[in-house]
Symmetry: C2
Subunit: 417 residues, 2 copies
């Protein structure tokens, strides 16, 4: 099917208010990066008007119960009153000043109090800043250069880590050695291949690569990575940018009793306000201090005030348990619906960071059709990237969304026969 | 002198509300990066409470007429009503959504309309994002790897460009070749040393390296760089992150008739809201489209609304001319004062991005003393980094600041005899 046919088959008329055409003149490709709707299914709207709680509205005025949460950041729901009040109070005083505000210290103290592996925090703006900075700390600490990372894992979009080689040089990736996620043998082999040179092992808390079923970490792997890092004197870095604040507020491997030397945080940290952080252990404090790593907006106070309010609210309202409940409701509902419509599906990852794939759907045509139909029925989720729950998803919201997904399953069954 | 003696000699009691001590426990070194007051003179406050117009207040309640403008971003003054209204109106609808808002297109259109060398724009969050992305576009376009950049120039703080080697690897900098700013012979030599491999020449619009007198670009050099880039098929990238929006709204080399292929923008673009951009020519649109370059918060709408309002306000109020007037008043005042107190000083750079150095002050002891005395007299400027004017500096503000600087010159003369 052409894009237009697929749009029509989904019954969705995406006009984007004429913005796509205007954008195509002044933005390369009309859009780029992870929010580029041209790389999802054609029915996806590109431009959004507003958000409230777990709902978003596109510029054509369509309302969605949203399960992408802006690809992670919105963890308490849009316009959360506690977060907005904290941000507004700070903004009234100042945001980008000649130095940080008191709130930077308060936020660092909160992270250190909350995260057992954190003796200190450094702040930046985006996940890529944090993963890059974590590797800099590890390299400064060890005087070594090599970094072990899982094949296919996403650690950001700087030249060293972007999934696309366009615009990067071989030198920029020359210090990386890949291993297979959840394979301790592969990790050991990668380490042995650059013996004595490993500065860091960087790893996501579970396997959340796009286009693939998610995989929880094997506790044996997590513990083995910790032991290996200790044995070879490398830093164990958890890239908790995507998963952080949705699995365990103390860090996503804390349930396994595995504590990293460094953790990269961002996305959900401030409920949509732009901030990232690296937390680390006392042993790495000195090396961290030697870096020159900074940005014009890294110390702006509003995002820090929002982060403090967000983390306190997650803690005080047990928001992760709330998301787990809503996520379980969604997973169970989808499971029953898929079965009743004769689809075999896999639902993978933590229920707070869910994903669904259709068996035998290698070209994603079923997923594309179903997620497009979901859009038409007011449910925004994604055909090939994991979804995100927020604490704003009530039982009624999920139930309402499940009506949409059920209709979408029915239409998908009707379409594919 | 010890830090404490220097503090006392400046008559400033910096308590920072006890925050420095608390910060030292939870942030490596208590602070890091360009806002780390420990690397300025000891009298500098680390933590700030609020800002309004051209004034900032530290957490001890001291008020300053500020000539650092948060190291550049604040170009219209803190809490500028037009910018704040635009940001608030957008925030009430949404900031970080599942796609950009209409404002992304409007902002890209505004940049394309305003900047003659811009046929398109890509957005990100910090200056380093933009310089890095510009080089990615150049590399994608040419299929080449080498980048020519001026010795000592600051292009950001990622491993490829941070001024400190701590935490970086030789490979990350292996594709860079240095030349001497304003020396066309040196630039030609650098290009010849990697003939056929040059993807880009990246250059700041004037030489604004820390610890050194600033140097305006020689028009011959600017035109020669353009001609060389054309001759060897490389992209000419202007890093206008620091200077942009304070010299010429059309781009800082437009007065010389030299147009870049790519420009990196950030800092003053949104009056303190976090945003950066790369603009480029039609020829580079296709290559730009091949990148996977993105960030969780790059498309957030509030900073874009603030950027649109900021740029329109700079344009409509002729803010650069306003800054030039205030900057000239400051420069003339400082010049007369230095002379009357028997100091030989150099004032360098555009008057909107000024700096003053004392002759024969290699160890900066005079600059440290004078800038610390300025602080005590309510004037915030910097001993070894260029300053920034804003359009909020009125004639009365500069006159008031000049009273402070005059007293500081007198005290510095008294101290050094």
């Amino acid at each position: 099917m052409t894009d237009n046919e697929l749009r029509q088959s989904a019954g969705v008329r995406v006009t984007d208010g004429g913005l796509r055409q205007r954008a195509s003149r002044v933005v390369p490709g009309g859009m780029y990066g992870h929010l580029n709707a041209a790389i999802f299914a054609p029915a996806y709207p590109q431009f959004f008007e507003r958000g409230d709680g777990c709902r978003q509205w596109d510029v054509d005025g369509r309302e969605y119960i949203d399960f992408m949460c802006s690809w992670g950041p919105v963890v308490l729901g849009h316009r959360h009153p506690v977060v907005e009040r904290a941000a507004a109070a700070q903004l009234a005083k100042g945001d980008c000043l000649n130095g940080p505000g008191a709130v930077m210290v308060e936020l660092a103290e909160l992270l250190v109090d909350t995260i057992p592996s954190a003796d200190w925090a450094m702040f930046s703006k985006n996940g890529t800043d944090a993963t890059t900075q974590a590797l800099m700390v590890a390299r400064a600490a060890t005087g070594r250069h090599k970094v072990l990372l899982a094949h296919g894992a996403y650690h950001g979009a700087d030249p060293w880590c972007t999934p696309s080689p366009a615009g990067t040089t071989p030198n920029e990736r020359a210090d990386l050695v890949e291993f297979a996620y959840n394979s301790l043998a592969s990790l050991e082999e990668a380490a042995a291949s650059v013996e004595g040179e490993v500065a860091a092992i960087i790893v996501t808390p579970f396997k959340h690569d796009s286009f693939e079923d998610q995989e929880l970490v094997e506790p044996e792997f997590a513990r083995g990575a910790r032991a290996l890092a200790d044995r070879i004197g490398a830093a164990l870095v958890i890239d908790d940018v995507r998963a952080g604040f949705r699995i365990d507020l103390r860090g996503s491997w804390e349930p396994y009793g595995v504590r990293p030397d460094l953790t990269a945080w961002s996305k959900a940290m401030a409920n949509g306000y732009p901030i990232a952080a690296v937390t680390g252990t006392d042993a790495l404090r000195g090396p961290a201090q030697t870096l020159y790593s900074t940005g014009s907006f890294w110390f702006s106070a509003v995002a820090m005030a929002a982060a403090k309010a967000t983390i306190e609210t997650i803690r005080d309202t047990e928001a992760i348990a709330v998301m787990e409940k809503a996520g379980a409701q969604l997973r169970e509902g989808l499971s029953a619906q898929a079965k009743s419509h004769g689809f075999t599906v896999k639902q993978t990852g933590p229920v707070t960071i869910p994903w669904l794939s259709f068996d035998g759907d290698a070209d994603l045509s079923v997923a594309m059709h179903w997620s497009s139909a979901c859009l038409r029925h007011g449910v925004y989720l994604h055909p090939w990237h994991n979804w995100f729950m927020s604490a704003a998803h009530t039982e009624a919201d999920v139930a309402r969304a499940l009506e949409g997904t059920d209709a979408a399953f029915a239409e998908t069954r009707a379409h594919f026969g």
